[in-house]
Subunit: 410 residues, 2 copies
């Protein structure tokens, strides 16, 4: 007996209604722990009410809804309903509404799904308010260190402890969310690519093989500030030009090793037209799906910065910002995803995600994978974020087929 199909038109309509209720002319405004995020969750509960399901919240503020099937543990599907400020209508919400569409299809089919299905909406994937991404999913995966986040404040100076408490979450106890894992056997997530690859290749969907690891640092070049008019060229120690040289060398690292390398932040001191820069602070963000290659990228970046500093007799400082190791998705689930996409779209495409997702945290503790839909012009985290309805519908169908295949496995 075939699995009931997800009603893609309804999923897209739910997404549009969500945007109508919580967005504005500048885009999506479902900033986690805020009023519009709570409105989004109320809407989610309305949609669950429609199919007779009640949502529960775990200790980290993640929302769960279970549709009982023939076997345990459950197959979890979902993503995050929170957005960045002025964000797009699809980022996160797409996977939540598609997952809800899967539960709705089974609930209305009059049959029990082969496995219990769990819809999950992870809290604060974006980290837009306190700077800690993947909050809820890392709590579930057991990688959220309360000590590391308890001192965080938002731009208005309000404490994460207080803001979470207002949302019914006690920071000290978020680790208890990991207990929910015992009911879950695997995790699937549908998401937009947020990059240009699928759109440029004219593809409607791709299986995601994992999330690239990230090494993010800030290098400080300490030279000597000097008067732009009175300081001869040959006695300068221009920290800005040392950083410029380093940035151009860092850009070349992926040529040898693959991956991506970005220097998006560069601050000069004193940073005025009439002075040679005495200090320059350059961010370096390196990403690669392979741990060994990522390590080579990091040593290459350090070498480039050291050489650029030395050549201008600048001192070099290095500050770690953040790092995460590459996380590969479950090979069997990736194969099933690639097969479902091939069956639905006629093309097989695998892609590594350069952005982090809740699925990366879940993949630490469960078999997990994702399906990506194309992002028009690669734009995301902006009002202009969009995907053709037809492409969304195809990927939703592939996601449904993948869920069926996973439920049938074992």
């Amino acid at each position: 007996l075939a699995s009931p199909a997800i009603d893609a038109g309804r999923v897209i309509a739910d997404l549009r209604e969500l945007q109508r209720r919580t967005g504005d002319a500048d885009g999506a405004q479902r900033l986690c722990w805020g009023a519009q995020w709570r409105v989004a969750r109320e809407y989610l509960q309305e949609l669950l009410d429609e199919i007779g399901l009640e949502a529960t919240r775990d200790a980290a503020g993640n929302l769960w809804a279970f549709l009982e099937g023939e076997r345990e543990p459950a197959l979890a599907v979902g993503s995050h309903i929170d957005s960045v400020p002025n964000g797009g209508w699809l980022d996160g919400a797409y996977g939540v509404m598609a997952g809800l569409g899967l539960l709705r299809a089974w609930a209305r089919s009059g049959r029990r799904s082969p496995r219990t299905l769990a819809l999950v909406d992870f809290a604060d994937e974006e980290g837009a308010r306190f700077g800690r991404s993947l909050f809820g999913s890392s709590a579930v995966a057991g990688t959220l260190d309360v000590q590391e986040v308890q001192a965080l404040t938002d731009a208005g100076g309000r404490s994460i402890v207080q803001v979470l408490a207002e949302n019914g979450v006690e920071l000290a106890r978020v680790g208890e969310a990991a207990a929910g894992l015992e009911h879950i056997g695997a995790y699937l997530e549908l998401h937009i690519e947020q990059g240009p690859v699928l759109a440029r290749e004219g593809l409607q969907a791709a299986a995601v093989t994992g999330c690239a690891g990230v090494e993010r640092l800030r290098f400080g070049f300490i030279g000597q500030a000097a008067h732009a008019g009175t300081t001869p060229m040959n006695v300068r120690h221009d920290a800005g030009l040392a950083a410029a040289t380093a940035a151009l060398e860092v850009e070349r690292i992926p040529t040898a090793h693959g991956g991506v390398a970005t220097t998006g932040e560069l601050e000069l001191q004193p940073g005025i037209a009439t002075a040679v820069a005495g200090e320059a602070w350059l961010s370096v963000d390196l990403r690669h799906p392979d741990p060994a290659a990522l390590e080579l990228m990091l040593s290459g970046a350090r070498r480039s910065c050291a050489e650029a500093a030395t050549s201008r007799e600048c001192r070099l400082e290095e500050i770690a910002i953040w790092r995460i190791e590459p996380i590969a998705f479950d090979p069997q689930l990736v194969e099933l995803a690639a097969g479902a996409i091939a069956n639905t779209t006629g093309t097989e495409k695998r892609i590594t995600s350069g952005a982090l997702h809740d699925a990366a945290e879940l993949a630490r503790v469960l078999p997990a994978t994702m399906i990506f839909s194309p992002s028009i012009a690669g734009i995301s985290h902006a009002r202009a974020e969009n995907t053709e309805d037809a492409d969304l519908a195809v990927a939703i169908a592939a996601f449904g087929a993948l869920a069926s295949a996973v439920m049938m496995t074992e």
Copy 2:
């Protein structure tokens, strides 16, 4: 009969007392139009009282004091007593106190100087509060455009019109200061170099041949902001790297043309570690004493920026910030200055100033020149600004000899 010598010890003592009265632990605080600047001027009046001279103020707030000599028009000597915030004890004040020392020497000699001597303290040379440098001297030279400055406000939002009025200066009438020129035949200024050249060459003084012209612009590189993780290297239009390339090319311009080229300001947008920069704004400050060479530098900078933009498919914008043509000092006065320095120090050195000075404005309308003293480590506009007392004394002696030579000329 020999001219009376300037008492260099007294000049240095006056400078120390000025710093004691108006400076603090962070350096000189004689910000023009402020309380400490008025204290500095009161001290100047005390010193003039000592030799029986009364100061007058012209329509631009410049302070003048005349010591009648045997002939008119007067030889003017001076500089500016205002400083940048947290400035040095010598910048500007040095030339004012040395000029006063010259008038004191003649006043106490019991003889009349061969020419009338005029001490001038120009108002707001630094432009530190409203961003318009050479305020008082440009009013005298007739190059201060009231229309261009009347909308200026300080960092606290206060209008230049109001702040000047509080200091007895009516902005609309500052042009009347030019009338004072009819009494002046030439202008001499003693100043610190504010750069490292003399100190590195072990020289005690130099004759200044003129002030370099300046072309100051801001170039905007408009690329495409993109996600650092999801955007492959080969589809990026990284505006930050376009600006980095341009900055490194601009640095090479003086190799071919001489002069100095500085890119001290670089702003990236969005300017975060996780995004490819979509915009970059780079300042370019070019200086050269020769107009034709400066023009070549400017076209070279434009070409470098255009090529860097094109190579990354960025759009280029150009905004003019400020420009001033090179100003050569009077060749005869420069020769006299070089000769006075050679007689005093045993070495002859000519230097072009890369910084602007009041003498540059005066040189537009009068024969003028300057003498520079070395700046230890080239440091200026900072508390650490300093020159050895012995070097100050030698340059003061050379300045006195120059003034005598000029008074004897004609």
